[in-house]
């Protein structure tokens, strides 16, 4: 009896009154939160005066400490690049640059030839993106819908690469890039050294195949009866409905190539072929501090922009990657 009376009023509005009102006013409708979402802390506890005081204290602490831990370093980086080297080294530190100047950024751009480095990185990321999609989508389609003989073995072999951490095979992979077996090509300092290994991604094939498996057979059979070839079915039926998963795979691929350090360090030793992370790292010791910091800011702008634009997809990829990996 008691719980019957307690239950309906807990979501109805009494508990944590300010919080609930606030949530109702939010722009984004967050699905079950209003009615069913409840957590370890009970709404009743939260609603007492003591509960509310504790809640606000905890909230303040969390917001302040998160800002200090994650935003402040970035603020320090962005403003640090505007300071002169003497000001950077001064004690006590200044919170605002004594005079705003973008010289640090301009100098970093010229000294490190950041235009070339960023261009290189964009080329590596863009090419890896296209090649990965082309290779992994068609592979997943073949394994999921065409089901060739030995398809299960091929899939198992591809998934088995997930068991081998990339770092431990970096030396033989490097030798392969240096002299591709059979063909004898030397891919060092070419974009192919980044693109081809990026396409050999068992996790992408797995994600895509699982999504393709969920596409109803009837849909493809209908297209087949209409006389569509497998390539046509992939292009006109499968790819259009797979946009969400293609988005996830795209973002993961681009961001991974952009962030990667070790592999480009090995396979792109020429300074005019380096990716931006390697370029900055290799010149870091010779740069004045403010120039180095400015180059760090510039190098992180692209990924931060991607993050701003595709926040939701990145989170989706994150949970797809871990919960079901």
């Amino acid at each position: 009896m008691t719980d019957v009376t307690v239950m309906p009023d807990s979501p109805a509005g009494t508990p944590a009154a300010p919080a609930r009102d606030d949530r109702r006013g939010q722009r984004r409708p967050r699905k079950p939160m209003n009615t069913q979402f409840r957590t370890a802390v009970s709404p009743h506890q939260l609603n007492t005066t003591r509960g509310r005081i504790i809640y606000w204290i905890v909230l303040t602490i969390v917001v302040v400490s998160f800002t200090a831990a994650f935003v402040f370093p970035l603020y320090w980086m962005v403003t640090g690049a505007m300071k002169s080297t003497e000001e950077l080294n001064s004690i006590p530190p200044t919170f605002l640059p004594s005079h705003f100047s973008l010289d640090g950024y301009l100098e970093a751009w010229d000294l490190l030839d950041l235009g070339t480095l960023l261009g290189n990185t964009a080329l590596y990321a863009g090419g890896a993106w296209l090649l990965t999609l082309a290779v992994d989508v068609s592979a997943a389609y073949a394994l999921s819908k065409l089901r060739p003989a030995l398809g299960k073995v091929v899939l198992a072999l591809m998934l088995s690469t997930l068991m081998i951490p990339p770092m431990v095979i970096m030396l033989p992979a490097y030798l392969t890039v240096k002299e591709v077996p059979i063909f004898g090509w030397n891919l060092l300092n070419t974009p192919w050294a980044i693109w081809l290994p990026a396409a050999a991604n068992g996790f992408n094939v797995f994600l895509l195949k699982r999504f393709f498996d969920s596409i109803p057979r009837e849909l493809l059979e209908a297209a087949e009866i209409d006389g569509a070839s497998p390539g046509r079915i992939l292009w006109s039926v499968v790819i259009p409905i797979s946009r969400p998963i293609l988005g996830v795979v795209s973002i993961l691929t681009v961001v991974n190539v952009w962030r990667d350090f070790v592999w480009p360090l090995l396979v792109l030793p020429d300074s005019d072929k380096m990716s931006v992370s390697i370029g900055i790292a290799s010149l870091s010791s010779q740069m004045p501090q403010n120039v180095l910091v400015a180059s760090l800011v510039i190098a992180s702008i692209p990924t931060i922009v991607v993050f701003f634009l595709f926040q939701r997809h990145i989170m989706a990829g994150l949970t797809a990657g871990s919960l079901k990996g």
């Binding site: 719980d3 609930r20 957590t39 073949a142 065409l146 431990v168 490097y174 910091v293 926040q311």
Partner: protein, 307 residues
């Protein structure tokens, strides 16, 4: 072949077309697969095999390779940095687990309770994950500077003596753990947060009716409900952190006095600084075997529970 003789009279025309269709289907399928097969063969499967082969050979890329048995393994084991590399990697992994595993889980639980600023907090905690790791590491190198770095200046504000951070054997490894935690904790936090939000609220209500306090509810509802994801993340974290390379490479160069040499860093040094790629491979093979155990458990756990 013998059974085919029975329907042969009626189905002679159909039998070959069926076969031909199967062949055609397979040819098309392998046509779609060939790009992936080539990429995987050259850049995943072959290197895996070659890792093993190279470990037992001596190659100088001029003469044909020579089989040398366990000599490469002997070389790396006798290296004075061998012990420290494994110990550091193990300690780094342990500390990174304590910080990079415990902190995100607690953070996620706290975030899950908050009703305000959720979007902001989620965004902010994931921000460092999006920075290129090289940027985060070089940023912290600047913060760690004993003379004018942010950390010592902050300690100075509260009248504490500054630390040597990367320059002292006692703090260098910890400094690496701090960077690593800072730049990686966002993904863990968000994954735990997603897991926490799938816990049915009835469980908490039931626990509450049974008189369980907050900590009991966390212990008997939250943790059991997220047990699987906790286990999966534990294994993933172990595999990821044992491959630590960029932090020692950029921050300390393995020093001071081998205090931050990691296995992968030593492997890199063998191949590219000591000119002994085979010894580097032998080291890589040892690490591969250790990590494969964890990877295998991880795959087993995640497969058993998702399919």
């Amino acid at each position: 072949m013998t059974t085919a003789s029975i329907p042969a009279a009626s189905g002679r025309g159909r039998q070959p077309t069926k076969l031909r269709r199967a062949v055609r289907r397979n040819v098309t399928a392998y046509g779609f697969l060939c790009g992936a097969l080539i990429c995987f063969a050259f850049f995943s499967w072959y290197p895996m095999v070659r890792e093993v082969i190279l470990s037992f050979q001596r190659t100088n890329f001029v003469d044909p390779p020579r089989w040398v048995g366990l000599e490469n393994f002997r070389t790396v084991i006798n290296d004075p940095a061998f012990g420290p590399a494994w110990v550091n990697t193990a300690v780094f992994t342990l500390l990174a687990l304590l910080c990079g595993y415990g902190i995100p889980f607690v953070t996620a639980i706290v975030l899950n309770e908050l009703r305000h600023a959720r979007a902001y907090l989620r965004f902010v905690v994931y921000l460092p994950v999006m920075l290129p790791p090289a940027v985060s590491v070089l940023l912290f190198q600047w913060f760690y500077n004993p003379d004018y770095g942010l950390f010592n200046q902050a300690l100075g504000l509260v009248h504490l003596p500054g630390l040597q951070w990367l320059n002292s054997t006692s703090t260098a490894l910890i400094s690496l753990v701090i960077v690593s935690t800072w730049m990686n904790m966002g993904s863990g936090t968000l994954i735990y947060l997603a897991a926490l939000q799938t816990i049915p609220s009835e469980l908490y209500e039931a626990a509450e009716l049974d008189g369980a306090g907050l900590f009991k509810r966390i212990r008997h509802v939250t943790i059991p409900q997220t047990k699987l994801i906790l286990l999966v993340m534990l294994l993933l974290q172990i595999v990821a952190t044992m491959q630590v390379f960029i932090e020692p490479y950029l921050l300390t160069g393995g020093g001071p006095e081998n205090a931050t040499v990691s296995v992968v860093y030593l492997m890199y040094q063998y191949a590219f600084n000591f000119g002994n790629l085979n010894a580097g491979n032998a080291l890589g093979l040892m690490l591969m075997i250790v990590l494969m155990v964890f990877s295998a458990i991880y795959l087993r756990v995640s497969r058993d529970n998702t399919v």
